[in-house]
């Protein structure tokens, strides 16, 4: 009886929020689906139910865009997750309290530093006429900022701090005593990380990775400013059909493209949530 009451209490408390979510998230998704599944005839201006937009969004340049977006965000999330974790570990190990605070604050700022200002910073440093252009031409002759590899260099600039920000608390939680206990029982460094440190870190590391992926997948202004659409990304394509100066009358295609991105994020969560649950179970037991 008490348990039931508790359950009801928790759900009761969350009910207004769920209602809010239904309106703030459910309605837009419903609207996207509705518009994505309708097409307007360019001549008669008659709107009818049609799969043509969804079909178009899975073919040709739009499929390339979706795949490129996926490739770009997965790769930059992997790079940022690995480097970020190493960096966060180094910071966690340092004794300086001020250093740690400063880095946390800086990460909070840098994780939100994106868009055109970031693109321009890179243009001014390693772009044409940039301060370090001759240096980068020397170490990486084929490098061009406005290409896939160019974006791959820029994205970790805001993803890495995001990873540090999400994993530093967990790394701080690893107590020296556990490492000592493991050593006392004859465990090697590898065994400690395999059986103690790793599993403890896994949930937040996975969370950080997913955040990095989402942030890279949704990013748009930086890539637009750097590549001018020569690297097809789904976010830029949505912008081009919905809010451009060139393509008119294709709003419904934009909605269909947006539905695709929701599907991708949904799939990502479908992989992430069970993984997270598994590692969290280990922590509880």
């Amino acid at each position: 009886m008490i348990r039931f009451g508790k359950k009801l209490g928790a759900w009761g408390a969350v009910l207004p929020l769920l209602g809010y979510c239904a309106i703030a998230l459910g309605l837009p998704i419903w609207a996207l689906l509705w518009e994505g599944l309708h097409a307007t005839d360019p001549v008669t201006q008659q709107t009818s139910v049609s799969l043509s937009n969804l079909t178009a969004s899975w073919h040709g340049i739009y499929l390339t865009g979706l795949l490129d977006s996926l490739r770009l965000s997965l790769l930059s999330a992997v790079i940022s997750a690995i480097l970020g974790l190493v960096a966060a570990y180094a910071i966690a190990q340092s004794r300086g309290r001020i250093l740690k605070q400063a880095i946390l604050t800086a990460s909070g700022v840098l994780a939100n530093f994106g868009g055109i200002p970031l693109a321009f910073c890179f243009i001014a440093t390693i772009g044409t006429g940039g301060v370090f252009q001759s240096w980068i031409q020397h170490v990486w002759p084929s490098f061009q900022l406005g290409t896939f590899s160019g974006i791959e260099v820029v994205y970790p600039y805001f993803l890495l701090p995001l990873m540090v920000l999400t994993t530093l608390p967990a790394l701080d939680g690893l107590r020296t005593q556990w490492k000592e206990a493991s050593a006392n029982l004859g465990g090697s460094a590898w065994q400690y990380w395999r059986h103690v440190g790793g599993p403890l870190l896994l949930p937040s590391a996975l969370g950080g990775f997913v955040l990095c992926f989402g942030s890279a997948f949704a990013a748009y202004a930086t890539a637009q400013a750097l590549t001018s659409g020569s690297v097809p990304l789904v976010t830029m394509q949505i912008n081009a059909v919905l809010s451009g100066n060139v393509i008119a009358n294709q709003n419904n295609l934009g909605m269909a493209l947006a539905v695709n991105t929701i599907v991708i994020c949904g799939l990502m969560m479908a992989v992430y949530l069970p993984l997270r649950k598994r590692s969290a179970k280990w922590l509880e037991s």
Partner: protein, 386 residues
């Protein structure tokens, strides 16, 4: 159970953050044209509504005008808006000044009936032709001065100003090579090394009209036509293969910093850059490529459900008056009534002298040609340049 509840809370928090950015809309009903018996929202010309004096009186009574996506630095709009406000005492609100034609159309569709809805729009031709059902037919007093291929025969939209695609160049940053004057110059093997990474447009041609037009101009210079934009895409692929093409969007600051010393853009943008940068010691030359003459016009249209129907119409009368048209030219754009004003002798001589010289005439693409070019560019651009 608690975990699920926590998860729901987290989702709600994300939703909150996401919607915090969305703006609220005004709610009051549209103002009525007080002090006038004419329903200006139905008037198809100043004469039909009772004459210019009646229009001015009705517009003054409305007291304000909603514009959208009018950057003050674009085609001299800053001066035009200031002078209009001073002359008639009508307050101008310019929403989303850095938006796009697509945003303007979206605002017309979604703000119907709101007092904050835009009264008039200034859109690229690709965004005027398909949406005549959103516009009110209106013919300004100087209607006959606008060339026939720049206007809708019913008066739904009408070209206000335009220009040619031009090549701007900062000679100091491309030396020892000379400044390119044509599309062919840019591919001259003798200059390739000096132009490396320096040729830019106004961004993404699937989004920016100026960049889209630059590709089309390049097509005309390389065997393409108004019905074939493909050679233009090929041309930029070649520029990219040479390492000359720089995908950075050109702005005054990218030219100043030396990131984009060569820019292919509307002549009014390039000339504005040149005029502004002169004070900063940068000498930018602007030339219209003789091998690729491409010109396009922007269009005016009155919102069918304009909250200030008289002020909207008065704004159009002002833009198409000798003063308004000359003001566009003061911002280095070519007014649509240029030829008529030339024969009437009403062109501003100083502003005319500032326009780069062009020889010959140029054809304007039809709506069907635009649609075909958009489709070809959308599917071909990233593939050719990726």
């Amino acid at each position: 159970m608690h975990r699920t509840a926590k998860l729901a809370c987290a989702a709600a928090a994300v939703a909150l953050a996401a919607t915090a950015c969305s703006s609220s809309k005004g709610s009051s009903a549209g103002d009525s044209a007080a002090g006038s018996k004419t329903d200006w929202s139905k008037a198809t010309s100043a004469t039909a509504g009772g004459g210019m004096d009646a229009l001015v009186a009705a517009a003054k009574a409305e007291g304000s005008l909603n514009l959208i996506t009018i950057p003050a630095t674009w085609a001299n709009y800053g001066t035009i808006m200031k002078d209009f406000q001073a002359k008639y005492g009508i307050k101008i609100t310019d929403a989303n000044p850095n938006g796009s034609s697509g945003d303007e159309i979206t605002a017309l569709q979604h703000d119907k009936g709101l007092s904050s809805a835009p009264d008039v729009v200034d859109v690229g031709n690709s965004h005027a032709v398909p949406y005549t059902s959103l516009f009110a037919d209106y013919k300004v007093s100087t209607w006959s001065d606008i060339p026939a291929d720049l206007k809708d025969s019913n008066g739904a939209w009408y070209g206000d100003y335009g220009g040619y695609i031009s090549i701007a160049c900062d000679a100091a940053k491309v030396a020892p090579a000379p400044c390119p004057k044509t599309f062919a110059d840019l591919l001259n093997p003798a200059y390739t090394a000096d132009y490396k990474g320096k040729v830019a447009m106004s961004g993404n041609p699937t989004t920016a009209n100026a960049a889209f037009s630059a590709v089309w101009a390049a097509a005309l210079a390389n065997g393409g036509s108004l019905s074939n934009i493909q050679p233009g895409i090929q041309y930029f692929a070649k520029l990219k293969a040479n390492g000359e093409y720089n995908p950075v969007t050109d702005t005054e600051s990218t030219i100043q910093s030396g990131a984009t010393p060569i820019t292919i853009d509307w002549e009014f943008n390039n000339s504005q850059f040149a005029s502004d940068l002169k004070a900063k010691g940068i000498d930018l030359t602007v030339s219209i490529p003789s091998d690729g003459h491409y010109s396009a016009f922007y269009d005016q249209a009155v919102n069918k459900y304009a909250p200030h129907p008289a002020a909207a119409r008065l704004w159009e009368e002002y833009l198409y008056s000798t003063v308004g048209q000359n003001d566009f030219m003061g911002g280095f754009a070519r007014p649509s009534e240029f030829t008529a004003m030339q024969s009437a002798g009403t062109l501003d001589a100083t502003a005319e002298k500032n326009l780069p010289t062009v020889t010959g005439t140029v054809a304007i693409p039809t709506s069907a040609e635009q649609n075909a070019a958009q489709a070809a560019l959308t599917s071909g651009w990233a593939t050719a340049l990726g």
